[in-house]
Each structure stands twice: as C-alpha cells, then as structure tokens.
C-alpha cells in the first residue's frame, strides 16, 4: 500500500544528500548541540545559526512545506511553555527566555528534518554503527523499520475488512472492535516474529 510518507525525499539530489552519511551525522549533531545550548538572550548566536540553517534548507532542496509541517509538531509544546511564562519568577526576563526557547526549538527541528530526510534510514543506521553504537540496538532498529511497513499494511487490511462488513454502530461496540483489531495485530505480529526467527535460524543465523 502507500508508504511514501517514509523516506519520501531520501532520493533527491543535492549537496546535502551527497554528503557522506558519517560526516553528515557528526556535523549535524555538532550543529544541533550548538543550537540547543544557546543561552537566553544570545540573539547574535541565534542569528548566525538561523542563517546557517536557512542555507542548509536551501541547499538540500527538500520542499519547504514539508519542513514546515514537521516544524508545526513542536507547537503544542511551545504553547505550554508560553502559558507558564507569566508565572515564572527567576532571573531571566520571561520574553528573552521564551523567544530563545522558541528559536532553539524551531531551528533544531528544521535541522533534524533536513538531516534525517536527506538519506534513507538504513544509511543513518550504518553511520551510527560506524560510531560504535551497539550492533544489538541498530539491528533491532533495522528490524523494526523493515517490519513497520508490513505490520502497518496488515493493520490497514484489517480495518478495510472491518469497514466493508460493518455499518455505523454504537460507540462501545465500535471501540471494542478497534481493540480486537489491535489485539489480533499483536497476535499476528508475535507469530510473525516467531516465523522470522525460525527462517533466520534455517538460513544459518547464530546471533548477530
């Protein structure tokens, strides 16, 4: 079915895309840490990082609308912080703190979006392996990523089957059906993991 929403822009061609994943991981991580450690009121630094981020966005050729959509995800959090600003009584004036956090949050999510959408997820995992992230963890991640599509499909098929068999029902029955689908999905996923493991053993898997 349709899963274009994952790794949608990974195959574009741009200077950011063609950077070595290992170098990209390191440099983006450094940039990210620089951005999130800006102290309240350091607007000069923020201006430099904003310019740098805009340059990266421009170079990456990833659609601005897509990046904006991902950026909107952090706004519930910004709202919560904004709500509490009047109640804060510490040394830093509230508006400096709020503007800095807002800028840090937006810059960080834009940087992250560009970085992670400029290569397939598998490349990112490979780069993590290079920096000695334990193989056990990256293999679980790779597995999760691989089966995500399949299990998502399975879930969608069950909902299609349900939709084609039921008309609008009362609320308790509807919620129960949803829960039964989730329960079946668990059973099917568990059984699938057993089959996958057996298939791996049959092909000579001895751990790692």
């Amino acid at each position: 079915m349709r899963h274009a929403f994952i790794d949608q822009y990974a195959e574009c061609r741009s200077p950011i895309h063609s950077l070595d994943p290992r170098l990209k991981l390191l440099s983006f991580l450094i940039l990210l840490i620089c951005v999130v450690t800006v102290s309240p009121g350091e607007y000069g630094k923020l201006a430099i990082y904003t310019a740098l981020t805009l340059l990266i966005v421009f170079l990456s050729k990833i659609p601005v609308g897509f990046i904006a959509k991902r950026t909107l995800q952090i706004f519930p959090f910004i709202l919560v912080i904004a709500l509490f600003i009047p109640f804060m009584k510490n040394g830093v004036p509230g508006w400096h703190l709020f503007l800095t956090v807002l800028a840090r949050g937006v810059l960080a999510v834009v940087i992250l979006t560009v970085f992670l959408n400029s290569m397939p997820f598998s490349q990112c995992l490979k780069a993590m392996r290079f920096y000695r992230v334990p193989a056990l963890f990256t293999s679980i991640m790779a597995f999760m990523y691989r089966y995500l599509f399949l299990i998502q499909d399975e879930c969608e098929r069950m909902f299609q089957a349900k939709a084609s068999r039921t008309l609008r029902r009362n609320w308790p029955a509807e919620v129960r059906t949803f829960a039964n689908i989730a329960g079946s999905l668990f059973i099917r996923s568990f059984e699938r993991s057993e089959r996958v493991y057996q298939a791996m053993c049959a092909r000579g898997f001895r751990g790692e």
């Binding site: 999130v36 949050g105 960080a108 999760m144 829960a179 329960g183 668990f186 791996m200």
Partner: protein
Amino acid sequence: MHIPDGFLNAPTWIGSGIVSLAGLGFILGKIREKLRDKTVALMGVMSAFVFAAQMINFPIAAGTSGHLLGGVLAAVLLGPLPAVIVITVVLVVQCLVFQDGGVTALGANVLNMAFVGTLLGYGVFSIVRRIFRTPAGFLLAVFLGAWFSVVAGAATCSVELWLSGLVPLGLSLGMMAGVHALIGIGEGIITCLVVSFVLKARPDLVAVLNEETRHE
C-alpha cells in the same frame, strides 16, 4: 508528550540521557541472557507492532479521538523489561523518521515513557494484581497500571521542564497530571480491551501469566 529539541537545558538533557543509556545497557544485557539470539527478531517486530498500534485512532466521545501509548500493554503482553526496549525503539524511530521528539531530548523522552511510565505502571499493575486475584481484578490492575503510566510519564516531563527553568513546578505538575489523568482513562480502557481480547484468543502469549505459572 514528546519533548522536542531546544527546550531542556544542558544539565537536564545530558543527565537524563546518561540515566537512560545506563538503564538501557543493563536491560538489553538482561534480555539477551534470556532471549538469546531471538532478541533481535522479537524486539524488532514487536516494536513495529507497538508503532502500528499507536497509529490506530480510537473514537472517543464527541468526535475526538485518542490513541494508545502502549507502555503497560507491552509490559503485560511481553514482560516489563522487553517493554522498556520496545517503547525505547519506538521513541527512537519516531524521533529519527518523523522528527516527533528531539534527538538531544531523546534521553528525557525515553526516561519519561519507557522507564518511568512503563516500569512504574507495571509496578502498579503487579501490586493491584496481587491484591485482587480474580479475572476482573486482572483487568482492574491493567486499567490502573495503564492509567498510572500516563500520569507518571507526564509528571516526569513537567519535572524536567521545571529543572530546565521553563515552568514553575507546582502549577505545571498540577496541570500536566490533571490533563493526563483524563487521557489516562482512555489509555486504561483501550489497554484493558486489547489485553482481554488476547486473554481470550491466545492466553499462552501473555507474558505475565506465563511468569506466574512458572513460579507456581
């Protein structure tokens, strides 16, 4: 509840990152002892399951909808330690693939949802389970555990925001816990319904029951 990058201050995100990393290392070691070379396949596929289950939008009253967080669900079905790993993997993928939650805030998010939420929720579940040893008591324990996991996770989140000097402690704790006490009811009901389905269909898969029969 996924904290984005740029909100927490350095001591908070580095501190929670170290705590989460140490905890994860310990738990991964424990799980590998028990599951051996099955670890990767089981944890990977079950993480994908929790991810997919979180995407299901349950209809709630008046046109709103909510979704499962799945910490206590995973703990009851798979056992508490595998649940921590599964929820962590889900959080990492949500961060890396969908930019939901930040990279530097990942330690804090893992701490809130995988450790505090899942383990404390499971703790509540097993205490209530010991008090009421009936099938209805089991479901009550699942409900309370799932409810508590959501509230505890939210409370930890507001403590982290307070440590970062962004919100006053009392007010934000009250508000976050209050809002999530309501969200938790939905989580509790959905978790109960899913667990009761699995209990009917494949009781042999419910890890908590398997542990108990082994001890007897």
